[in-house]
Amino acid sequence: MTMPTTVEDRGFVVQLDEYTGPLDLLLTLIRDQEIDIRDIPIAQIAAQFMDAIDVLGLDEAADYLEMAARLLRIKLQMLLPRPFDAEAWDDPRAELVRRLLEYEQVREVVEWLDARAQARADRYGRGWIQDLPEQPPRPISLDLEHLVRAVEDVVAGMPQPIVHRVVPRPLDVEGATRRITELLATREHVELRELFGEAPTIADVFSVIVALLELARVGRLRLTQREPFGTVGITRESPDQAA
């Protein structure tokens, strides 16, 4: 695939690796034959393009096929009878020419960037970084633009405007009692917050609390809190110890 491939009868040499896409190939064909980009002999170029992608084994690349189809369409349009008034004639090649010129511009910028990058690559920065005593954690960069963008992302990510559902829900003490009992069957100690799922509703919280108080009353568990507002611990009481 990387071997130079010569298309003998048309007298130009093409190398697959050299092309970054159909526009590149097209531009090379045009430049090599010193064709005026604003007056492309479309039939000739289209034929050469087909040959090239055939020889290069590029005919599976969709991008190249699309360009091939475009060239054939322009070729056909060029064959249509033109109006006598030349001013009124829309050159079917115009869009292709615009794209080729635009692409040529990109390539010119690439050359400039390449030269700059090359010059910079000849200047080496500091290679070895000294360990300094007690490095603080990496500093954080923060700016308003990012903050505002984050706000927008938050809002965009919300499923719907947050409106609290005020649907009356009965307490589910039975369900809560079952969950607590199941948890305490496998573990001796749990924390209160483990009993709440993600984003518990007020009804969930009350259900758990009522269930806990009831279970504590009948001696199935013991509630502990080390300090005011501290976490509430729940410890299993074995039936024989129950008061």
């Binding site: 080496y124 300094l132 007690e134 954690p137 990496r138 954080i140 984050a150 706000v151 992302d153």
Partner: protein
């Protein structure tokens, strides 16, 4: 400074490790050992006598430029040996919610973002961008978070009033009636 000295200086500056004498000789195969030794000495003297901020040191593995010890603290404090890090998307979003909705409890942040905010909140508190500013009167009296002075300083703001007004966001991010108010 002659070419050999310049070459030694540039090599020692750009190499990712200390360079030994024999290695340095590779830089100019035509220079004699004495010439390289002379150039190294010239370089060392130049940095020494010019009272530079760095000095050419000799360690076990070879030669290297070292920061003068009395300057190391100031450089470490300025924190720029490593690139500043951007906050993760999760941290940025959480920070945004705290900034615009403070004082705000964890539950509220989690409700807005739809994910658990535990770790992210801890990170932001560690980095002193937010802090606990009180407790809610609501159920369980959850901690309330707000932004810090450091947060303002990093954004170059004098006060929270200088945060950009986000009119279109006001509906989504202005404090809603709390659950308690609704249930009451």
């Amino acid at each position: 400074m002659n070419r050999l000295t310049r070459l030694l200086e540039a090599a020692l500056f750009s190499a990712p490790r200390p360079l030994g004498f024999e290695e340095l000789r590779r830089l100019d195969p035509e220079a004699s050992a004495d010439e390289v030794r002379g150039a190294l000495e010239a370089l060392r003297t130049l940095y020494e006598e010019g009272e530079h901020g760095v000095a050419l040191g000799e360690v076990a593995d070879g030669f290297q430029f070292l920061t003068r010890p009395e300057l190391a603290d100031a450089i470490a404090e300025a924190q720029f040996v490593r690139r500043p890090r951007k906050l993760s998307v999760a941290a940025m979003e959480t920070l945004a919610i705290v900034a615009y909705r403070q004082p705000v409890a964890r539950g509220e942040i989690e409700e807005i973002r739809g994910v658990v905010a535990d770790g992210v909140l801890r990170l932001l508190v560690d980095r002193a961008l937010i802090d606990v500013v009180g407790r809610s009167d609501g159920l369980g009296r959850p901690l309330l978070y707000g932004t810090t002075q450091q947060f303002l300083e990093m954004l170059g703001l004098r006060s929270l009033r200088e945060l950009p007004r986000l009119d279109e966001l006001s509906v989504a991010l202005t404090p809603l009636p709390t659950q308690r108010e609704l249930d009451a």
